[in-house]
Symmetry: C2
Subunit: 253 residues, 2 copies
């Protein structure tokens, strides 16, 4: 099995090395990842300037790795179009530091890389650890390895990927695996307004999530109950059931 690994925390992040090392046990692995943190880049691609690439030696992994001065989506495109000598059987993006849950997956660079894989018709997985400190990457990596093995055998429908969030706990404290839906993700106090030493205002995007109780088939709820959450994600953004209604609108002008 040939596996492309990428992320949005940048090629030097711990999560990507631990993931790549674990996936080496089940296949060939190459890494193409951003040269620095590119969090919250959504599905951005770089079209207003060219991209540059450097080969990187990652610790003693013995894995071919390229650092790209672009977004996660750029990385997957460049890997498949130019850098890799093979078409990957699976694309795995992560392990992200911090959860990617609910509506927030729209903003996620980690998920966008897996979306890009799915656009190329490759079974793809985004993996995140649901904590920003003391991240238990090895648990998430081991889970990912197992999932990728099964995925390679079972496959996925076209234009589909898996979004995985692993609680940051010891393996023995995991409460199981939940197949989930994306929940609503409501933020409050989104901006923190500050004044710089020259008296000018600037804004930090920040805020806190309003956590709601709910069923264990909602991704954020499952993770809060120490379950690994797997959400199948599709790319068909058309709202098919509104088409007939819109055809009744008088839109001639």
């Amino acid at each position: 099995m040939r596996i492309l690994v990428t992320n949005d925390d940048g090629i030097l992040a711990d999560g990507i090395s631990i993931l790549a090392q674990e996936l080496l046990k089940i296949g060939e692995v190459e890494i193409v990842a951003p040269d620095r943190e590119r969090s919250a880049t959504g599905h951005a691609i770089t079209v207003l300037r060219p991209l540059r690439i450097n080969t990187v030696k990652l610790r003693d992994l013995g894995i071919k790795a390229w650092a790209v001065d672009g977004t996660p989506s750029d990385c997957v495109k460049l890997a498949i179009e130019d850098l890799l000598e093979w078409k990957p059987d699976v694309v795995v993006s992560g392990i992200n530091r911090g959860p990617n849950l609910g509506t927030d997956v729209l903003y996620s660079g980690t998920v966008s890389a897996a979306i890009e894989g799915a656009i190329y018709g490759i079974p793809s997985v985004a993996v995140s650890v649901a904590a920003f400190e003391n991240c238990h990457y090895p648990v998430a990596a081991e889970f990912s390895r197992n999932l990728v093995s099964i995925l390679a055998e079972k496959g996925l429908p076209p234009e589909t990927l898996l979004n995985v969030n692993v609680p940051s706990v010891d393996k023995r404290d995991l409460a199981g695996v939940a197949i989930t839906k994306l929940g609503a993700r409501v933020w409050k106090d989104v901006f923190e307004r500050r004044v710089d030493p020259r008296g000018r205002t600037y804004y930090w995007m920040a805020g806190t999530v309003e956590e709601h109780e709910g069923d264990l088939d909602i991704d954020a709820v499952a993770v809060r109950h120490n379950m690994v959450s797997i959400t199948p994600i599709h790319l068909d953004l058309t709202k098919h059931d509104l088409i007939d209604e819109l055809r009744t609108w008088d839109l001639e002008f």
Copy 2:
């Protein structure tokens, strides 16, 4: 009616002024837009640095306008959370120079701004002219005004927006309005590899679209036949019909 106008070509682009001026005929209009072109930013938000804002005087439109050094999604968030004194009844993003069709809407900053409006529960529209040169913005603007009037009356379901592409032709040459689905959008020769004067390689994202014939209910086909295309877009990325299947996978590890 209160209308927030934004775009991804930047606040100084022709398309946004022409759109705002036309929408003034049916309501109050305020503009919050990127201070420069932010094409292909997808649904990126800016979290690694703070945002700065400047008020801008746009020609003699008499419209309040702010330029933000961030993405289209940042602009909509900042407008609603902080800058506007009212919650908009409608968010309109555009008029984009160039089409936003099919799979490519995932990369579109123009569409991402309308997605952000929909996340806030506001009926939202993304408008693009399907040409890069000699763009007929006034036709698209007039169409948008008519559409926004109808939209304000009819409303949209939650988490839904409209993606509009207007052929760049005279109004008399338009062949009508088509309610469409997003088509597949396959690019070839995605990267152009060049060598800089110092002998180092760099890559431009470029490429050409493989246009396919198809029914007039596919967005790109409708536009090619000189029809205005309106695609309803939803934000529910969960692939619900795969959940039961995934629950049969043996994922314990």
